[in-house]
Each structure stands twice: as structure tokens, then as C-alpha cells.
């Protein structure tokens, strides 16, 4: 079987349609909703707040704590037992590492900034959607950040280099690589890089550039969502 075109008719380098909104969870200090194709992520930020137990506190700066979780009805097949598993623990950790380089917590010693990511519906690219939503929620919460982080997965399906894989592509019955990336916007530095599958060095290097270009498109959606929050209030201001 060969991979000649994508099930949803996209070009190999096209991302799925995206939708982003901030301020969607009223009780949270900051929050966001990010949708990429059929993958949906909510992110909420609480903090900086007191960190317990005290021995975990850092007297020099605040700490960032991320928790990624897939909701029981979010998987493509059977119900997922709640409570997280090794996979979600690992994703929580790499999410934190992806955001840490941009978050500025020097002015919040001994405190914690909690980022919670929950996905009600997934179709591949879930950790990327989570990181993208988390960056938005952190900005919404007013956490000082050098820059935004944008995430997207790229890969090689059969002999084609593709951007933003969906579930069927990840599950392709031939040689496949699924490579999630996260980029710091201004510098283009990579803060998340993992892979499931098989790839050769030459194609990996090509994929870095493809991922970077795709991440720039994700960034535009993030920027729009943050500005949208103030556009609406501003508009009604003018109409009066």
C-alpha cells in the first residue's frame, strides 16, 4: 500500500483547520481552547500560587507544573480509564520542558504556576495541541513570558513528508514517523522534539524546516486569539 494522498484531501504540507479562544474558563487565572482538526484541548492556568509541600519550593524563582490528561471519552476507541498513565505523565513532563524556556518566574519565588491540559476529543497531535493551548493560557493569565511557544507534529508517511498528521496517518501500515515539535517563536529554537516511528537523518533535517513553517501558522492563530479578546470590547466601545 502506498500513501499518495491524504484522507481529508489536504496537501502534504497543509495543517488541519484550527480554532483558538482564550478566557474560556472563568474561574481560572488564564485559560484557552485550541482545536486542530478533530483534536481539542482545554488549558487552564492557576497561579502563581502557594506551593505545597514546602520542600518543593524554589527560593529563587517560581516553578512551572504541567498536567496533561485525556478525558475518558476522548480516545478513538474504548473508554479511557481516568487517572492518567505513564504516557500522560511523560507528556506532562515534556510539556513543562517545552514551556519553561519562555516563562519568566524570577519574581515569584516559592510559588507554583499550575498548567492543566485536558483533552475532550483527540485525533493525533494531542500533545502539540496541549502545548499550544497552554502557551495561550499562560499569556491570558498574565504570566510574564519572553515569547509564545507553538507546537505541531510533522513526519514521514511512506515516502512523503507531511505536516500535522491525523490518526489514520500515524497508523499507516508501512514506514511512518510521527515527530512532534514545539518552537519558540522569535528565535525558532526547538523546545519539544520527540518521535514515534522510523526516520533517517536527511529527512529529519528537512522536517525541522517544515515544522518551523507550520509552527509559524499556528502562531498566527494564537496571536489572533489573544487579540480577539480585546477587540470585541473595543468594538462595542466605538459603536456607542
Amino acid at each position: 500500500m502506498s500513501f499518495d494522498k491524504r484522507i481529508d484531501g489536504r496537501g502534504f504540507l497543509d495543517l488541519r483547520p484550527m480554532d483558538a479562544r482564550v478566557g474560556v474558563i472563568e474561574k481560572a487565572d488564564g485559560s484557552a481552547y485550541f482545536k486542530m482538526g478533530d483534536t481539542v484541548a482545554y488549558a487552564a492556568v492557576y497561579g502563581p500560587r502557594e506551593l505545597v509541600p514546602r520542600f518543593k519550593q524554589n527560593p529563587k524563582k517560581g516553578i512551572l507544573r504541567c498536567n496533561y490528561n485525556m478525558l475518558p471519552f476522548s480516545g478513538v476507541g474504548e473508554r479511557i480509564r481516568p487517572g492518567g498513565n505513564r504516557r500522560s505523565k511523560e507528556i506532562s513532563m515534556v510539556t513543562e520542558k517545552a514551556l519553561l524556556p519562555v516563562v519568566l518566574l524570577d519574581h515569584f519565588p516559592n510559588s507554583v504556576v499550575d498548567v492543566f491540559i485536558e483533552l475532550p476529543q483527540t485525533d493525533a497531535g494531542s500533545r502539540c495541541a496541549g502545548i499550544t493551548a497552554a502557551a495561550l493560557a499562560l499569556a491570558d493569565a498574565g504570566i510574564p513570558m519572553k515569547d509564545l511557544v507553538s507546537a505541531v507534529a510533522v513526519g514521514k508517511v511512506d515516502d512523503k513528508l507531511v505536516v500535522d498528521l491525523r490518526y489514520e496517518e500515524e497508523a499507516f501500515e508501512g514506514e511512518v514517523s510521527d515527530i512532534p515539535f514545539a518552537f519558540i517563536h522569535n528565535t525558532g529554537e526547538v523546545s519539544l522534539l520527540q518521535m514515534d516511528g522510523i526516520v533517517d537523518d536527511e529527512n529529519l533535517i528537512k522536517l525541522v524546516d517544515l515544522a518551523r513553517n507550520a509552527a509559524l501558522k499556528v502562531y498566527e492563530v494564537q496571536k489572533e486569539a489573544l487579540l480577539e479578546k480585546f477587540k470585541k470590547a473595543g468594538d462595542s466601545n466605538e459603536r456607542k
Partner: protein, 261 residues
Amino acid sequence: MRGNDEVQHVLKYFENNVRYDNRGLTDYRDISYDLDVVKTAEGSASVKFGQTQVIAGVKLSIDEPYPDTPNKGNLMVEVSLSPLASENYLPGPPDMDAVEFSRVVDRGLREAPALDFEKLCIEEGEAVWNVSIDIVVINDDGNLIDVAGFAAMLALLNARFPKVVDGKVDYHELTDKKLPIKHLVIPTTIFKIDKYFFIDPISEEFELSEARLTLTRRDDGKICAIQKGGNFPLKKEDIVQMLAISKEKFQYLLKILKEVN
């Protein structure tokens, strides 16, 4: 952090038959819902009562029946207090509140019963449908039991059986067949502070409430679950009054449910 004087303060409002968000004591907030919000679920609903938001998702699976009910399908209900929803929730196993809410919503659906469990039987003693309802709180601004129960019922009404191929479920394709609904079930919780009764509290009011009584009713008006909560006791007269309020409020919510389908 609640100050000591906040209870006295809210009572001044109640005396004037008004609340912090300008509602009457027995008025609901704006209620809105969306069905079929989660593609990966066999049925789903997102519900908002004011700012309180929950998402309920139904997942179906085929399993062996329990030995004592060989011809009946099964139901499992879980309410989870997601850490998204409040500064008070942390990731981890369900705490006492989550367990209480889950079990109260479960009892109402199970006792009514909301589903005709015998119609969930595929082959007696061999294979039955298991229905799992997960209700996740996205934003907690009070009245979680009522909102969760309402969302669970909507998700059940929205759900469809997946295709079965060679005795195995094909989650990629849903049939047009809906679940065998026997009763519409809705919890109504009445809250009390001092001598005043009110419904659908915002989280501030919920924190100040002294007692609450959840009465879950089914479409014929009969009560199918009861739960008293809160640190203060209730007098018989209180219960009688709360029953009356619950009856009226149930009709209001039932009307909304009946519009679905």
C-alpha cells in the same frame, strides 16, 4: 477566602428576594446546551448553567453481564472535578465530593431507570451493552450535581449505538439507533441559608450554604434519588417546602429536556 460577615450580608439580599447576580431565589441562571460535541464519544452534551460548565460523554462497550443479571446491560456514572474548573481541584483520584456527586447522579439514573436495561442485552448470559457516562466539570461556578445530572441525561438522549462487526464494536461508525430510554431523569437541588431556600447557587452562594437537599425526579414526577448535604440539619417543614420548590423547578427543566429528540 470567606469573611465571617458574608452570611449576614447575603441574607440582606435574600430578605429583599434578590441575589448577588440579581436573580430571584428560585430562578435558574441562563441554561444553554450543545449536543454531539465530542466526536469520539457515542453521545455527548456540553451544558452551561450561567458560568458553570460541564461536558458529559457516553461510551459504550460490549461485555459479559454480571452473573446475577444475565439479561441486563450495565451503567456506570462518574463525575470528575477537573483541575481546569477551580483553584480547589488538583489532579488525582476523586475526592469525597466527586464521589458523592458521581453516586447521586448514578442513583437517579439507575433507579428511575433512565435506560431499559433489558433492551441492552445482546445475548443472555453472554453479551450485554455497558453504558459509561463521564461528566467532566470544566468551570465550577456552583450547582454541580444538577448540572452534571442534566448533562448526563442529555448525553444519553444524544447517544447512538456503534456498529458491531463479528461481535466486536467498530467505534468508527455509529448507527442511527438511539439508546433505549425509559425515563427522563433530572436532579433538582434546593439549598438553605438561615430560613431561606434557593436554587442554582453561584460558587459564592454554595460556599455560604448551610444545607442542601437533592431530589432527583423522573418524568412522571416521582422521586428516584434523594441526598441531603451540608453541615446543618433540616426540619420536617424545611423538607416539605423544599419538595414543593423541587417539583416546580423540575417541570421547568423537564420542558427543556423534552425539546431534545
